[in-house]
Symmetry: D2
Subunit: 483 residues, 4 copies
Amino acid sequence: MALKTANEYIESIKKMSPHVYCGGKWVKNLLNNKITRSMVMANAAIYALAEDPKNKEVMVATSHLTGEPINRNLNVARSIHDLDMRQEMALLTSQTVGTCNYRCVGCDAINGLASTTWEMDRDLGTKYNDTFNKWLKYAQDNDLAVSGAITDAKGDRKKRPSQQDEPDTYIHLVEKRSDGIVVRGTKVSQSGAIGSHETLVLPGGALREGEEAFALAFAVQNSAPGITYICQYNAYSAEREYCEEEAELGNPIYGQRETSTMVFDNVFIPWERVFLCGETKYCGRLVSRFAKTHRMNCGGACKVGFADLIIGATVLAAEYNGVDKVSHIQEKIIDMVRLSETSHACAIAAAMRGREEPKGSGVFLPDDLFGNAAKLNIANGFWEIIKYAGDIGGGLVVTAPRLKDLENPEVGPMLKKAFSSAAPADKRLKVAKFLQHWSAGLHGPGTWHGAGAPQTQRFMFSVLTDFEAKKKMAKKIMGMKEE
Amino acid sequence: MALKTANEYIESIKKMSPHVYCGGKWVKNLLNNKITRSMVMANAAIYALAEDPKNKEVMVATSHLTGEPINRNLNVARSIHDLDMRQEMALLTSQTVGTCNYRCVGCDAINGLASTTWEMDRDLGTKYNDTFNKWLKYAQDNDLAVSGAITDAKGDRKKRPSQQDEPDTYIHLVEKRSDGIVVRGTKVSQSGAIGSHETLVLPGGALREGEEAFALAFAVQNSAPGITYICQYNAYSAEREYCEEEAELGNPIYGQRETSTMVFDNVFIPWERVFLCGETKYCGRLVSRFAKTHRMNCGGACKVGFADLIIGATVLAAEYNGVDKVSHIQEKIIDMVRLSETSHACAIAAAMRGREEPKGSGVFLPDDLFGNAAKLNIANGFWEIIKYAGDIGGGLVVTAPRLKDLENPEVGPMLKKAFSSAAPADKRLKVAKFLQHWSAGLHGPGTWHGAGAPQTQRFMFSVLTDFEAKKKMAKKIMGMKEE
Amino acid sequence: MALKTANEYIESIKKMSPHVYCGGKWVKNLLNNKITRSMVMANAAIYALAEDPKNKEVMVATSHLTGEPINRNLNVARSIHDLDMRQEMALLTSQTVGTCNYRCVGCDAINGLASTTWEMDRDLGTKYNDTFNKWLKYAQDNDLAVSGAITDAKGDRKKRPSQQDEPDTYIHLVEKRSDGIVVRGTKVSQSGAIGSHETLVLPGGALREGEEAFALAFAVQNSAPGITYICQYNAYSAEREYCEEEAELGNPIYGQRETSTMVFDNVFIPWERVFLCGETKYCGRLVSRFAKTHRMNCGGACKVGFADLIIGATVLAAEYNGVDKVSHIQEKIIDMVRLSETSHACAIAAAMRGREEPKGSGVFLPDDLFGNAAKLNIANGFWEIIKYAGDIGGGLVVTAPRLKDLENPEVGPMLKKAFSSAAPADKRLKVAKFLQHWSAGLHGPGTWHGAGAPQTQRFMFSVLTDFEAKKKMAKKIMGMKEE
Amino acid sequence: MALKTANEYIESIKKMSPHVYCGGKWVKNLLNNKITRSMVMANAAIYALAEDPKNKEVMVATSHLTGEPINRNLNVARSIHDLDMRQEMALLTSQTVGTCNYRCVGCDAINGLASTTWEMDRDLGTKYNDTFNKWLKYAQDNDLAVSGAITDAKGDRKKRPSQQDEPDTYIHLVEKRSDGIVVRGTKVSQSGAIGSHETLVLPGGALREGEEAFALAFAVQNSAPGITYICQYNAYSAEREYCEEEAELGNPIYGQRETSTMVFDNVFIPWERVFLCGETKYCGRLVSRFAKTHRMNCGGACKVGFADLIIGATVLAAEYNGVDKVSHIQEKIIDMVRLSETSHACAIAAAMRGREEPKGSGVFLPDDLFGNAAKLNIANGFWEIIKYAGDIGGGLVVTAPRLKDLENPEVGPMLKKAFSSAAPADKRLKVAKFLQHWSAGLHGPGTWHGAGAPQTQRFMFSVLTDFEAKKKMAKKIMGMKEE
């Protein structure tokens, strides 16, 4: 049976021993460290979703390799409907965990690879697609958690990868052997890699001739020798690490998005796991296929799910403060909905105008223009949404004491009196804490950069728009002759 | 054969004699007055579109009454695909004429009536749906141009229709006779009613018990006794009326959107043309079904077509001025595309999430939330788009002399020298004139109010959003117990 | 006595015979053509303002040349208070005429010249400042209307003035003679030059060595031989030209901003009127001093005056439609005020942080950063303001019939019924017409480009901001060592 | 001598023993707890500023009570210049500490009290002004740190203070005695009260007859019996509490804004410290005078200082990443400057249009409209500014490891390689950490609510605008008769 339960996933994690460093400490057991544990618990919740029959259409797909039911996170989209369910999955997972579906990047990488390895084999006579399908069948059969690693550390942005003073700012080839390749370098902002069974590594962008050493796509197992994961660490990490109990926190169980810097120190990758090696011409294509898929999902629908949570809590805050009937409050909530649903519409349109790419491959990818619109709208919209959440949440979002202080025998009674309103103090403070997490935390810039910073989407608009057609239409109505 | 040619439409107009007043004159022949002629020519262009085989999927549908091919403007949507083609038609017609498809309101009124008359018959045992279908078959068989009249003059907005000092600010029943009804009152902002064969009149909004006299839906023929059309008249009307030739104008042939105040002075409507009479309970439903359809089309996709024209001309202006490679110019053009395609995405999503309403009726209506999002986004976005068009178009958009002045033997040569740039003066001035039409004319507030002012769409968001579901999601993640 | 009355100004205009072409006709008498007349009437109203004792502090200054009272439009600012009254004058004139104070550009050119000719004389030993002061004394003694001509036609923007295929796209020197210079070329968008006694011509921007032929500043008399004024002509021109009476129009007496393309065909300028000739190094300085002054006034305070009119009429429209107590209407009006007063604040700050420039010259110029902020904020804000005006004004702003139609014996009574509301139809339509003028006319792009398109102001921010100081502050707090 | 040094301030703090609870612990010594220490250090830096001769004009004023030099934080503004220097002080202190000048609220409360106690004495024959001046002289003579307490906990916002189920949600009178009053209740969001020598307590808003028990203004000493300070505690608190050294943090020394919930449990206030008791009519006035002052300073100029720091660090981030010459980066930085300087302009205009209030009192208060504009613009603008900071700062702003990790012998070398760019890794990470503090922390909602949530400022616009004058102007130009 191809579907793991949440418990089976957690058990499988216990067996892994990745080399993880977090906030000054080496983490022996992901489940014993409060920070890394939150990542694992979020992934477990994604597994659990697929167990619930009411989510079947969204969470479960049919493998085109085996015909078996598989978790949609491992599915290659073969139809418009698949694309539509993919973006609805992004919505549902966000609504459920309020943080990353850590299998999301991997899923979109799978689709980029399915399309591009097929094309390389057709054009170049390589066997990448076979190799990839074998790996994918293995992943599907075992319902593995697969993360994706795209963003190199990049060094000085004025320079190409090969011009960097420090070559390890990009993943690159060290040695090509008969049994595989040796790679080194750095991928950053790796969401959930620590708790995934596998990571798909893709190039960070388009490459030119002469940059073959950076043209690499492969799968690597968690805990593979030579990999070190250095976790992000910030105020929210410290709060979680040192809290008395998780219930004090904004997102108690699933936490914020946990990423790591993933350092490859001469890691060996056998050929059965290599899906591109040196074909610079296909790197841009591979990344852009990944990107158009990821912008629809992570860029668009995922953040709509976050917005749903924020809107829900904001309405609660308004009710608890006794201001839910005030017209300007209602207008702001309407704006939150408008911004969020606009991005949802773009994600749906991206799915609906998706198409097979390349023709004959059987792989369906979403429409690029609408996918970029989904991401770009929510990147800006999300800042508006958290602004309004902070507004309606009130000063408490910033100046609240600890939730635990309510239980202190001396100050607890004072706080319960002070913060009682149309609801008891504990409810008010709990909602304020939740809104603090969104409105005064990492999600603003996180949403901005996830699936690529907005300037990339803007650039795509200039590439994807048929300006000649528009000029022609305008000339026709003006009665201006075409030259 | 159910499809009229553009010429056949023009010929049919020559046979009509509506009572039309425009800018201080009674218009005997719509084709001889430059203002009213532009409206007729725009409608003719819509007819012509359906003649072109490459537009067949978009412009031609299959009648569910006869199985014959019909112009999509007369089609009742029976599927998601119908809805999708409907919004694509709105896009195509706007790109083609740069003004109203004057059959658009009528088309959406047809869909609202198809759904609501079916429901009334089911609930009340009336025969409205039969009556309506007979009329619709006649319209389809003769490929009639049908306009729609929704907006009453409304008087003092603080008062209900029946409380107005002046009852003629709303269409209302005067007399119910055995052979039909007699109505009077005023509909305003009637796009293209003067050059349509028929006008569908709907209530302007939801009604309450006691307001039966205002609960009326019917079809009325152009030129019916008692109807006077008083045309809008503004600066752009004067410019057209007094120009030496239409080529001087911003939209030479099709002009701006031409509307009229339509005054009903005891007009007789036979029962065969009455589709609702006194059923106040169904008025809100009828209007909201019309509205959700119209917001997707007129509110959303139509303005995307306008934006395409503006973007095309703006790119031309940048090229002619020699600034098309300048980065801030390119950034602004990207924003124009983003704003426009966002609304397109919302219209597509509205179609794709459309559904049969009511169940069993066979009539498909778009999703209301996304339809409202389409309209609301473009209402604001359009002002941004024309701002950028005016920016990139340059000062000439405001301060250009007449296009005709280029031909004057004295000043023409001066102007040709003065305004030569990366393109000859005549091209620069022509594009400036086109952009003036959009950026310094009626389209800003016109787009705002078309398909209902944005506050209405905002209100719909508050009605259509499931806030309880969002509150529940948030509580679950917070670990807050449901009461 | 140095102050002309409005009547004296009008009489003086009757004696001039400029070579004016407007909409296909040569205008013999500015007062007999409805379009050119509106420009003269606006200027007359500005003269009249200075007659009213209650405006004395704002409208009347003391000549630093003679000690006599002069119209502030001819004043060289010698103090912070002068700068403050200058921007308050811009506000007052806009509130009064709802169009250009056509003496505004000239006033700011006077200040740029006063500062820069002084500097040239100090640096170069020239006598430009003396020459200028003599001319200025003459202008002050006769209270002349002085317009300013800055913007060249510019041709292909990718090329420098001397590289243009068509040299007449810029004003340039043809011949230097013992008694003066001969110039030719084109200035565009010349507000009110036709009805001014004098025009000050400045270079259009900074110049480089080798571009001496374009380095010219001089005063030229209206009607000087070789000058042709070709008026702008657009829909609003046609409406005015062909209206039965001006009362029908949006701004009945003063009209829209009237500009012309000003063609110089070998015009002779005697040395007594030449204030810069060949000193390329001082051109950028001269223009930027003009610009910083003009952005505070025309760019900033002037549009606040327009906004006051629009806000006033919008509140009337809300009252007449019976919606003035509705919360979203009130919120929008608040936004209109906020946008407008923000720019007013920037203009005040520009005056208050003004300073003598160059030291020793006695000439006070406003702060550049705040002047640019004034212009940039209102450029964007004005589009918001007219959007809201069009919103609250309602569909009537677009679809209203002629005001005159109310008087027609047949349709007038129908319209009076149809449009009666919380106020009679004539009031509602009058306000709608006024708002149409602002919201569906030329003022959106006009405000954008007046005093330079916003991209220029944005560029100035990058030049004027002390980024090193800010970096230093940040480093200090971070505890980062300075290199 | 009336000016304390930073060291003298710190010494004075050591002698106080307030009842402070912070994150689950009672704080015995403010300087030994990392969180409370940051507050004290920020205040010390404000004292230090006044020691530096180059800041004299901004930081030092002359007491109107004694003629002695005093810290401007204790000054009653007696002129436009005082107001201007007051807002410049807000700018300078923010640029210096990147957090609250914790004496700011107290300063604005002093001005509100100076004006209103004078007015009460004039109207009612009370002696509040004398009492207040005696207390103020004492504060000035000892250069005390004075905080201000305005915001009550408020309870259910639908209810008036006296209707609350829990009376302690507002500060209220318990007993009036011959020697003073006894009060109880809660003030929230009290910036820096824990480390101030005195706190001025004002009513939270306008009051009505019957609400006399809530009409209270008084000064209370730090550590007065019955007062408990319960500190805010959030992720940033935890990060500071548990960091190895402060250098790891975003704002190492001065921290984030530290506030507390201040609980009054039957606190005795002698009459020499009571400045209003029961005079409900004067409460609205007192609060609005405080508010107009505070909006210019805390609302406006203070956040401009924050923006300067953010802009400085953002430029550094761009340089370190090698993208400082990229045009879209430069455009965004320009926007950051525009947003910030706009608010600065509003603060300057508020000062410059300030006036004596009430006439005869000698107290100068800023212009209310412009003060509200300052706050409202930056409230929205700040979110834009931190959005751009997060954008240009890059993904690192969210996903960076600890700064300390650079020093770890195992992962440090990896990180130094991975994050080397146009600058070494430690600089990049330091700037990323600083931007995280601003862009992914509490300052977004903090700025929004500081000096009152923006809806309050919007409301003030509707109250302060003379709509009748604007209607009149518009009518005059339209030629519409006044009724």
